[in-house]
Each structure stands twice: as structure tokens, then as C-alpha cells.
Point group: C2
Chain length 370, copies 2
Amino acid sequence: MAYEQYMHWAIELARRGFGSVEPNPMVGCVIVSPSGEVIGEGWHKQFGKEHAEINALKDCRLKGLSPAGSTVYVTLEPCSHYGKTPPCAAALIEAEVSEVTAAMEDPSEKVAGRGFDMLRKAGIKVQVGMCREQAELLNPAFIKQSRRSRPWVILKWAQSLDGYMSETDAGGNTVWLTSEASRQDVHRLRRSCDYILAGIGTVLADDPMLTARPSCGRSPHRIILDSKLRIRLDMKLFQSIDAAPLTIFTLSNDEEKIQEIKDCGVDVERAQKDENGRCSIRGVLDKLSALKAQRVMVEAGPELLSEFIRCGLADEFWVYTAPKLLCSAGKDSLPEAMAGLPRSRLCHTEFTPFDKDIRFTALARDISEI
Amino acid sequence: MAYEQYMHWAIELARRGFGSVEPNPMVGCVIVSPSGEVIGEGWHKQFGKEHAEINALKDCRLKGLSPAGSTVYVTLEPCSHYGKTPPCAAALIEAEVSEVTAAMEDPSEKVAGRGFDMLRKAGIKVQVGMCREQAELLNPAFIKQSRRSRPWVILKWAQSLDGYMSETDAGGNTVWLTSEASRQDVHRLRRSCDYILAGIGTVLADDPMLTARPSCGRSPHRIILDSKLRIRLDMKLFQSIDAAPLTIFTLSNDEEKIQEIKDCGVDVERAQKDENGRCSIRGVLDKLSALKAQRVMVEAGPELLSEFIRCGLADEFWVYTAPKLLCSAGKDSLPEAMAGLPRSRLCHTEFTPFDKDIRFTALARDISEI
């Protein structure tokens, strides 16, 4: 097994934390004996719980094996600080491992090389950079937050093969465009995000809850952009207020309705007006940024989609394509929404099947430029 | 190994003939000893050459093994007639196999059960129908031709993720939308077809050759619909006349230009006029039908695409999606082409990756309804 294979496996292990560890990064760790045997595996499983290295050391000891003298492959620099758990660097030193190979530095202010320093001072050989790109791709939002203190914006939408964003039945009612498997994946994505943002158009058309189901205890804070405060209090967003917080950004001065909404336990915030007289998405993102939002998911209808692309504010795309040629059963033409917008750059593109649908994911820039 | 696994393998073998055997069907054959060992494999490799059963028997004997007493798994009923090769049923009888399991009957007039009759009369046990659907999906055009004497029409196009059928660079010139791998696959598809049809719009925009490259000795007959005879004699279609025949359907009476074109070795046919004053695609398909065309591929631009869908004349779809959000760099919006058309039914949908692109294939009806 080439050394990179150990790191590939650590990256695979890391992925298992998706939707459970955020806003922490996903991290995986593999401990390898001098003879090349994998003697311990671990990953960060849940926010606030043990880090990957600690779980890998535990796994090793549970097998009755000693990590002393081993090489540790880890997807991120071991931490050096006492947070919710003691520092992993200290645990690795105590375990007398002889080498740590990390895919990348921890860019967060709290670590930023100090984990490597601790290890080196203890005489442990440190190597950095193996499979760096794949490791960085695990946690782009974490990296952006660390480097630029700005939230990572994920545009998600569904479409038919022929470029429509919604499907209507014979009676003109909106129906599910994508398969059950795709929709389950969307709920997984929701669990990985701290905020979910939708426009009032989508809300009025679909009356969605915008919660993660099942939530597994994690459902994003819901943000609705509703410049004219057209939302109705009998909508599912209000009925599901116990499942996840709800904030409505508006330009409206209808103080009576605002009070009614607030009485339901829903936050109402004054938005800034953009040049088209709508809620400014830049302004909303500034507010979320101040709240240290890390992953903001946009359930994009045609309006929000074009607005985010126009402003260059999308970091990542998740697009589900259903194998359908809707023709006249289609609504919300994608090219119509995109007309006149600057072309979007897409990097790290990937297709993944979900039942009969296909999911497309991409970043708006190279991972090295985040 | 469950018995179906032998048939699955025969189906996989059959696929290797794609682009070489047409207008013959793709057929695969696996010979299994009484102890369950695969002792012979074969497939129909090239039009006019040995059938799958003959190749499997050969393979068996080359290994020094006897097919006597074996069970033969074959994706199509063994033939009963002397064509370009002697009948396979006779060869199987001579080889003293004890059982033949076929996925489907041969629907062509020349066989239609007579292969099974020959085998049964010789005391060979015959079973029919294992993995029928997958076997039928190998050869829908062959089935349609056998049952209805009509050509099978494949609509092929490329699109961006956001529903544009072509891409322009900064200077407004059309550029390749899809990857090299996708384009190679299109050439494979071309090799499997006897006719390729394009509209004059595509020809004027892209100046294509519409040949299979490499041809491997097989390039489809090219058909251009050019109602006003706008084609130019300096186009690549004319330069590549030695690579594949070229026929232009027109409504024009410009006898001088028609003569000029004919002098280049190009056929010019009078088309029927449809209700929009263009060449009638129904009329063209009637003519191709009379020529016993089996697989007609349409390199669809927006006009031909909508026309075929409007008329319900598409049998199969091959759509390549490039991972691009073109926005203003996009041309030929798919939803615009589809506007007002009846929704297309899609069956047997499948996604297949080609480098960074994804290919989507589907049939317009269930395979059982062909």
C-alpha cells in the first residue's frame, strides 16, 4: 500500500462526520504500525465529542495494541488547545507515536501551526501536505471561516434534464421533481448547515418547512427574505417553529404584522434595500457573518439563484437533475433565470447518482483560492 | 453463482459488439459445464462475421474442452437460417449441448421461433425469457425494425448544466461544450448508426463533417435538411464526401445549385413540405424507412429537437451534460426550444460519466412497447 493510501482512507473516514460535526471540520485519522499495518482508525463523529486522533488511539488500544512507534496519518493538523476536549497533539505525544503525517495545517487562529510545533518539540517527526487538496475539499467552509471570517454559501436547486426548476402536474400544481433519495440527501445537506435561506417566492409556492428531517438534533436556522412581508402565519414554517429557529428579513413597515409574527416566536429583522428594491442578500450575509455563520445553504428558486450569481456570492453548488424532459410541464426556466448573468466558474465538479437522479456539486473557485 | 449471472455475463459480452455489428443485433453467449464452470464465451463481433454461439463454441474447443452436455446462455434465440454464416442452432445441435437458455426470441421474420424449434426437435431443452428486459434493451432498433419495419430514431445533443445547447467564447464564436471523452463517445454512437441527420442551422453554425472518427470502416450516411438550400459547397460536408455518403433534402427549386451539388457526388432529394413550410421530418423518415434504415441518429439543434419531440418521433435520447453554468455565454436555451411541447415520457433512464461530463440515455417508451 502506497503511503497515500493511508491518507485516502483517513479522508474516507473523515467524511463519515458529514452532517454531525459542523461547524467543526471533518477529520479522519489512521494509525499505522512500523510494519505498515493499520492498527487504529478514528474520525471526528460529533460536534463537541472526541477528535479523530483520540478515537484512533482508542481504537488501537481497544485492540490491545500500542500506538508507540507508529505513524499517524491525519487529515488536519492535530489541535494544540484545550477546547471541548484536551489537545490531540498532547495525546499523540503521550502515546509515543514516532511520526505524524498531516494533510494540511489547521488554518484556525487557535491552532495555526501550534499543533505541529508541540509535536516537533516532543521529538515527533512531522510531515505536512500529503493529499492536501482532497483534505481541503473536506472542509472548505471551515477554511473560509478561519481565513476570512465569512460564511460559506451553498446554492442548492433541483432541475429537470431540460432546464426547468419545477414541475407542474396536469392541474398546474407543483409536484416533486426529484426522487426520494435526492430529497434525503438534501436533508443530509441541511443537517450540515447552520443557516438555510429561502426567498418568499419559494415559500409561497411550496409552503416548505425547511427543516432537516430527521434532524438528528441538527436543523439549520431558517432565514426568509420577504421584502413585502407576504408570509402567512398559517404556513408550515410557523408550525415547525419548535424544530428550528426562524428569522424573517423584510423591508416592510407593517408593524402590526411584524408584531403578530414576533408573537409566534419568530424573529423579524430589518433588511437593507438593494438597487432593485428587494432585501439585499449582501446585507443579510453581513448579518450572518457577524453571527459567525459558517455554512449557509440557499434553497434557490430562480430569483435567489440569479441574485447570488449576479453578486458572485455563491461558494458551492449542489444541483439535482431529475431524468425528465418536462417541456410544457416545466416551470422556472433556468436559462431564463440566468439570462444576462456573468458566466459562473466551476471547479472540483463532481456527479453522484441518487436513485434515478444525478447530483452535481462544484465549487465556485479552486480550493487553493479560498 | 445464480443462473442469472451467466446471462448477465452474456449480456456484458454482447455489448462489446456495439458500433461493429449493426444492423445485426448485439449478441453474447456463455457456455456452462454441468458442474457450473464457464467453459466458453463469445459474442458477435462484426457484421457478417461469426455469431456469438459459434464464437463461444470455438472458445470452448480452443481450451481443449467439449461443449457436449453443457448449458448455453445466449442473449437472443440462435438463428435457424443460412445467412452470411451457417445456422447457429445447427452448430449447437452438432456440439451436443443439452440445454439452451435464451433471453428472448429473435423477432426477425427469418427466425421467429424456428431456432428454438430446431433445438427442441433435436432433444435440446430450451428455456426462454431469462433477463429478457436487459437483453431487449441491447437491441431496441433491431426489435423495432423486425416488428414494425420502421427506423429507430436517436436524438443526441449536448447541453450545459444550466440548459444551454451551445457555448460561445468572448468573441461570440461557438466552442466545444463537452469534453474529448464525450465527443469520442459520440463517434462511437455514430459508428452504430446507418444514418445521421442534421439541420442546416447546425451545419451553417458549426460546419461539421458528421462522420465517425475513427470510422473503423463504419460512418453513417449523412442527411441534411436544408429547405432553402443554403448549404455552401466549400463546407466540410463536401470535403469529406469520400468518408460517407451525403444526401440533402430540400424544398428549393434552384436547379442550378442542385446540379452543382450533384456534380460533387452529393445526392439531392426533394422533401415534402410540413405545415410550417420546412422539410417534413415524417417524410424524410418514410424515405429512410423504405431504404431499410435501422438506426437514425439526429444531431439535434434546438429546431430539430423540438420538431422531433412535437411529432413524437424520437425513440431514444442521448444527452451529454457538461458541468458548466454558462449564463450569458450560453446559446440555444433548451426550455425555449421545448416551450409548448408535450412532455416527453422517458423510460430506462441511465447516467454514465464521461470524464467531467455525464451522459444521460433514455428510451421514449418501455422496451416492452416497442
